[in-house]
Structure formats: C-alpha cells, structure tokens
Symmetry: C2
Subunit: 125 residues, 2 copies
DNA sequence: TCTTGACCTAGAGTTGCTCCAACACCCTAT
DNA sequence: ATAGGGTGTTGGAGCAACTCTAGGTCAAGA
C-alpha cells in the first residue's frame, strides 16, 4: 500500500512517515518503479507502534534507540522490555499529573459556573 | 516572592515565566528597586492556572485568548466557561487516545515477556 | 576580597513536526 | 489532445513552545 493509506491506517501523516524515515525509524521502506514508497501489512504495524510511542510521549531519541534494538534482532528483547517498562512508568506519572490538572480545570469551571449563578441571582433581586 | 520561588510553587520554570510574560500571559509583573520580578500569592495562583492549561495541552494562542478574557473583567466569565469546556472536551478525547496507546504498549510488553519465557523454555529442553 | 548564587536581557538552539514550492505521474472529462 | 485533479517525490523553510547561553548586576557568606 502507498504512503497515504499507510498513514491513515497507522495514525501518522505521510509527512511524519517521511520525516521518521530520514531519522532511521522505519524498518523497511521499499519503492516501486515510480520511486513511490509502499508498505506491507506488518510495516503498518510498525508505524502503528511508532504512533503509539509518539502518542505516549516518548522522545524521538529514545524511539530511535528502540528501533535500533529491534533491528539488532531477537537477543535484544530483554533490553526492549526494560526500555518500554521505563517508558510505561513515566507515562504513569504523566497520567497522575494529568489527573491533577484536570481536577484543577474542573474546579475552575465549577467556580465560574457558581459565579454566573450568583450574578443571575443578584440581577433577579 | 521572587521568580525562582514562584516557579517552584507554580510548576513553571523561571525561563517559562519570562517567556510567558513576553507573550502577555502574566496578569501582573511588578519589579523591585533592582529590577527583579516579584509575585504575590494570587499571582502564583495564576501561574498555576497557566501550568494547568499547558499541562493539559492548551495551545499558547488559546491561553492568550483566555488571558485576554480574564483581563477584560467579570462580564467575560460565560465566554471563559465556553473556552474551558471546549478545552475539557478535547482533553477527554486525548485521554481516550492515551488509554488506547497505553493498552497497545502493555500488549507489546506482554508479547515480549512471553517471547522471553518461550526462549527460556527452549533452552531448558 | 572573592566567589557563589540568584536575578536580568537579548538572542541562539532544540524538538518534532508541518508546510511549501516545484516537479512527476496517472486518470478523467472536454 | 489537453486541462484539471489527485496522488506521489524532494529539499528546505517555518512553526510552537520552550530551553539554554553569554554577558551583565547585585548581595551575602567564607
């Protein structure tokens, strides 16, 4: 499949895929006779993994490190686990922070809603 | 209090506070006789609000719009509610996406763990 | 006295995209 | 046949939101 479709399925834009390719994050990029990139099913799976790492806030340098481990073969699986588990942990913390911020946001909205209600009461008097 | 302390309490770095000030996001910045910024209790509250908006992914342009509403006075409260509720909704979607990614990540880790276990069994034979 | 540390400024550098110009190719409609 | 539209290609510019650096002021402590 072409880059547009691969992008739609994986959640990365064609621009991002090309950018990742330059950075060495794409495991396999073949070209057809016109010079257009094309991707197989499991290439798209990898793109989806990249989208997942990006979406969970992994820095590109670390995604690069992970990619290199994948390229080196099966014996790096334990290292990959370590890397992903470290990432998972940070994610956990980010989520906790997000929870606090969301609560803060909700409180602000509640405060504003109260304010409006009080104003309306004043006017009604 | 000075910018360092205000930063620590609000969760923004002094650099970020100065950067926000240039962008017009700081409601009040007074200086002492040495030209150093100082902040009162409720200035820090506002900085905390900015940290919250940033931490929940609001674009700076929108934070600027919100700041302008706050500066215009109480009659903009309904608009502020609309803005924050729109933001809240996007946040909800981002969180749903994050959940999917986290699940994906966990599945990958589980897959790798399985892989290692299977390898160990093979060796043991 | 001197050095450590916190502040100041303007501006450069970084990350991770995202968009643009300029071109190639193929399909369809006129 | 050719004009338009949609897809792809490249290199490089532009952008958001910081983050860091250089070069400076000032006050306090060893």
């Amino acid at each position: 499949m072409n880059i547009g479709e691969a992008g739609k399925l994986s959640g990365l834009s064609p621009d991002t895929i090309r950018f990742y390719e330059k950075r060495g994050l794409i495991l396999s990029t073949k070209r057809d006779e016109k010079g257009h990139r094309y991707y197989a099913e499991n290439d798209v799976g990898w793109l989806g993994m990249l989208a997942c790492l990006r979406g969970t806030g992994m820095p590109l340098a670390e995604t690069e490190a992970f990619t290199r481990l994948v390229q080196e073969g099966d014996h790096t699986v334990p290292e990959r686990i370590k890397l992903l588990e470290g990432h998972r942990e940070r994610l956990e913390q980010k989520r906790a922070e997000l929870d606090r911020f969301e609560k803060h946001l909700d409180e602000k909205i509640a405060y504003y809603n109260d304010f409006v209600k009080t104003e309306e009461k004043k006017k009604a008097q």
